[in-house]
Symmetry: C2
């Protein structure tokens, strides 16, 4: 999977460009074939480099979670951005307005009156209205209008207030919940259209179910996926991808073999994170199928070796992380293994953009 | 605990300087009273500001885990640094040598021959020898020589090789394992001294057991603690400190109350991290004793409210994180609530210094 033996300072995140670009291309084809616009979520890579690659491959635009991420992407020339988050507070609203003035298409979501009213108040004196989608809770139990009726009421409020315009519906479904999405969205869309409003976008998402995504005769118009660009152990374990589709891995060094069957690596929770996503162990050690990363402290990973594993002090190992989206966010820079050969520094442009 | 209502862009890490300085002072007194040198671990704050405060309060020097952290601290004028890690690889060894040339006292640890030999080779042409301590595994089951005999052998090897000098013993014990430390270290120290070698430092550590730290008639000379500077929920739950001793909290905003008893805050795993440290829930919501942070996605925290909790969209909440050391590492900057009043930006100087 990772053919080139490299000696770099560790721990480090290494991204294989060829694999990432293939992931981008393949899912773009899937969306094209299934009548869906693809709006990748940049939370996984947080890099202008890969956002541009996604748009070049045919993506409608991108999705961000934070204004800070969107600002970085706008600086990088991405001009169609959905911020899939309730934006609140004077400072954030001011930044959102500035961002809207320098992007071709900026949209946000809202699931409650306080957010909708705040957006309207900020944008009523803006040069053009802000597009607002209604976030719907189709079973993911996070944010979102709880019923189609509530989504319809919010859509009407958005359409009525100055400064903003209704742009459609958005949901982040539970894994395996695409059927629930369809039921909720069909009802909400019909109710909204019955009020004389256009529901131009109906956006669903999530990498785990990405290969089941389709438009269902035009009801779903758009799909948002993030993790698919690099993939990770959680998606392999869910059979969404294969190990060879994982573009990102942590390279770590064995710093100690204090006793038989125990090796210590220099990757701990400050790079791998403690995200388990329901899995056992803190990552997949490539080439050591019986070894388990059984524990992490901040800068140490504890490896329980299998009978056949010969790990020695100084060895470098490759780890496919459980959850790549949070790992990328731990580093200012990664190594990019170029398709043409060689390595270059990949700046994680929007790392740590929390606001 | 956090009297000043503040409205800042969220999520954000806020550090109350008065509490941090009090924590520094109190544990310094404890070490002074118990015949221990204190060598605080900077992994928790990663700030030159607080490292200087620790040294000013009487600390012998500081502890770092990574060369990158030590470089930042040396740049900030800290000149007595222990890097409590096995250093391996040509690039890291080269950086270590450069660092040694510009610090008054630099030391590292080693628990195996490969590391010891690499240090010797790098430093044999240096202007002065590098001090190397032997790391001992006193039950923590991470790195370290497994027996006092092995520690003695390594000490002799260090003393024999050019470029390096033996500096003593170091361990990171299991929580509650100070008794094991004493047994191991007493045997190892006696054996080393019987070989005619001085064992000038015997260093133990860990915030959870910090109030039990003492020299045991001079056997233990030094204590390393990190978390105590800010404290966190894990240390409160272990009765090491009280809530009012927690200097750091995350300020978050309620962005949605989608259904009765469920509130969504804008702090997720990209700031709180998923570290549980054996606890239930992802942090302590100050002033809402019945509320639980039951789940995190990357930018959302899911709060299950108790019967008396009235959380509304737009409310700001304060969270004492489970594990402050990894939270500090998520942000480039924190807010410092000054003892004299007012807020200033606190740069987390060594954030993300993984190598």
């Amino acid at each position: 999977m990772f053919p080139s033996p490299i000696r770099i300072e560790t721990p480090a995140l290494v991204i294989r460009e060829e694999v990432a670009l293939r992931n981008i291309e393949r899912f773009q084809w899937h969306c094209d074939d299934n009548g869906l616009n693809l709006r990748p979520h940049v939370k996984t890579h947080k890099c202008v480099h890969f956002a541009r690659a996604q748009v070049a491959a045919g993506a409608t635009g991108i999705t961000c979670q934070k204004i800070g991420e969107a600002e970085v992407m706008a600086d990088g020339g991405i001009d169609d951005i959905l911020i899939a988050y309730n934006i609140l507070g004077n400072r954030k609203l001011g930044r959102l307005r500035s961002l809207a003035e320098r992007t071709k298409a900026l949209s946000v979501v809202a699931d409650n009156d306080v957010v909708v009213d705040g957006l309207s108040k900020e944008f009523e004196t803006a040069s053009r209205p802000l597009t607002v989608l209604v976030e719907c809770d189709t079973g993911g139990r996070r944010c979102g209008a709880q019923t189609p009726e509530r989504a319809i009421t919010l859509a009407r409020r958005i359409a009525t207030l100055p400064g903003i315009q209704f742009g459609g519906l958005m949901t982040y479904p539970a894994v395996g919940g695409q059927r629930d999405v369809l039921g909720f969205m069909t009802l909400a869309k019909a109710g909204i259209e019955a009020c004389g409003l256009a529901c131009s976008a109906v956006s669903s998402g999530g990498s785990p179910d990405m290969w089941h995504a389709r438009s269902h005769d035009g009801t779903i118009t758009e799909y948002r996926a993030g993790t698919y660009v690099f993939n990770d152990r959680s998606l392999v374990e869910r059979a969404t991808c294969a190990w060879e589709d994982c573009a990102g891995r942590i390279v770590a060094t064995v710093v100690s073999v204090p006793s038989e069957g125990r090796a210590i690596i220099d990757a701990g929770s400050k790079i791998l994170t403690t995200d388990l996503l329901g899995l056992e162990g803190f990552g997949h050690l490539v080439g050591h199928p019986q070894a388990r990363i059984t524990g992490l402290s901040e800068e140490h990973g504890i490896v329980r070796c299998g009978p056949g594993d010969r790990l020695e002090v100084g060895d470098q190992v490759n780890i496919v992380p459980n959850h790549i989206c949070v790992v990328t966010n731990m580093v200012d820079n990664a190594w990019l293994e170029r398709t043409a050969g060689g390595m270059s520094v990949l700046t994680i442009d929007a790392r740590g953009k929390l606001c």
